[in-house]
C-alpha cells in the first residue's frame, strides 16, 4: 500500500505538504516537512482507498523545544 498524505500544520503559518509514504503516519510521529520538524496530532482517512493507494489527512504541530 502507498499512503498519499496531506499534511496540514496548526499553530503557525505553514504551507502544508503532500507526499507519498510507504508506511502510514501515526499520532505522535515526528515528521520533517522541508527544514522544519513537526509532531503528528491527528490522522484520518481523507477518502476511501483506491487500488494500492490510501489517502490520509494528517494534522501536525511544531515540535516544542525539549529540555
Amino acid at each position: 500500500m502507498i499512503y498519499k498524505v496531506s499534511y496540514v500544520v496548526v499553530g503557525r503559518p505553514h504551507l502544508g505538504s503532500i507526499v507519498n509514504l510507504d508506511t502510514p503516519p501515526r499520532v505522535g510521529d515526528r515528521v520533517q516537512l522541508g527544514d522544519e520538524l513537526f509532531e503528528v496530532t491527528e490522522v484520518t482517512d481523507l477518502i476511501p482507498p483506491r487500488g494500492e493507494f490510501a489517502y490520509l489527512h494528517v494534522t501536525c504541530q511544531p515540535v516544542q523545544d525539549e529540555m
Binding site: L15, I18, V19, N20
Partner: protein, 161 residues
C-alpha cells in the same frame, strides 16, 4: 528507485500494466534542480508533466491568503510537494498556460519530465492508458483540492494565525 519503480508508485500511473509504464518511462528524462531554482513559471506555455523522484518543490501563485511566507513578494506559496507527487498536470489536461509557479526547495531535487505531446501520442495509440491516466489526474486534482480546503478550514478556525 528506478524510473519504472517511480512511475509505478505514482498515482498518475496506478492501474497501468508494467509494459504500459515502461512505454511511458521511455518518453521522459530526468532533471535535477537546486533550492531556489524556478522549474515552471505561471503564464508560460506548458508542454511537460513532472513527477517528483526525490526532494521537494513549492507551488506558488500570485496573491493569496498566507501573507508571511518567504519568497518573492508578489507570490504566495500554496503547498509543498514531495516524492511521488506530480505537477504540471493541469496543462496536460487543458493545454492552457501554467497556472502556478513551481520552485525547488531542496538541493538535488530530482524530477522525471514527460513531454506532453509524446505522452498524448502514446495515449492516442492506447486508449486504455489515456482513460486510466485521465481518471488518475482527476483523482490527484481532487486530492489537492481537498488538501487546500482542509488548510483553508483550519485557517478560518484560527489554527494557522
Amino acid at each position: 528507485m528506478s524510473v519504472i519503480e517511480l512511475l509505478q508508485r505514482s498515482e498518475l500511473f496506478s492501474r497501468l500494466t508494467s509494459e504500459q509504464i515502461e512505454q511511458i518511462a521511455a518518453l521522459g528524462r530526468e532533471a535535477v534542480y537546486n533550492a531556489g531554482d524556478l522549474i515552471i513559471r505561471a503564464g508560460d506555455p506548458s508542454d511537460e508533466l513532472y513527477v517528483i523522484r526525490s526532494g521537494m518543490v513549492e507551488v506558488l501563485v500570485s496573491g493569496g491568503r498566507i501573507p508571511d511566507v518567504s519568497g518573492p513578494p508578489q507570490l504566495t506559496s500554496l503547498v509543498r510537494l514531495g516524492q511521488g507527487q506530480l505537477f504540471g498536470e493541469m496543462a496536460l489536461v487543458d493545454s492552457g498556460v501554467r497556472s502556478a509557479t513551481v520552485r525547488c526547495v531542496e538541493d538535488g531535487t530530482v524530477l522525471y519530465v514527460i513531454p506532453r505531446q509524446a505522452f498524448w501520442t502514446l495515449c492516442d495509440g492506447d486508449h486504455h492508458i489515456g482513460y486510466v491516466v485521465m481518471r488518475n489526474i482527476a483523482a490527484d486534482l481532487s486530492f489537492k483540492l481537498r488538501h487546500r480546503n482542509l488548510q483553508a478550514r483550519l485557517e478560518g478556525a484560527g489554527g494557522t494565525p
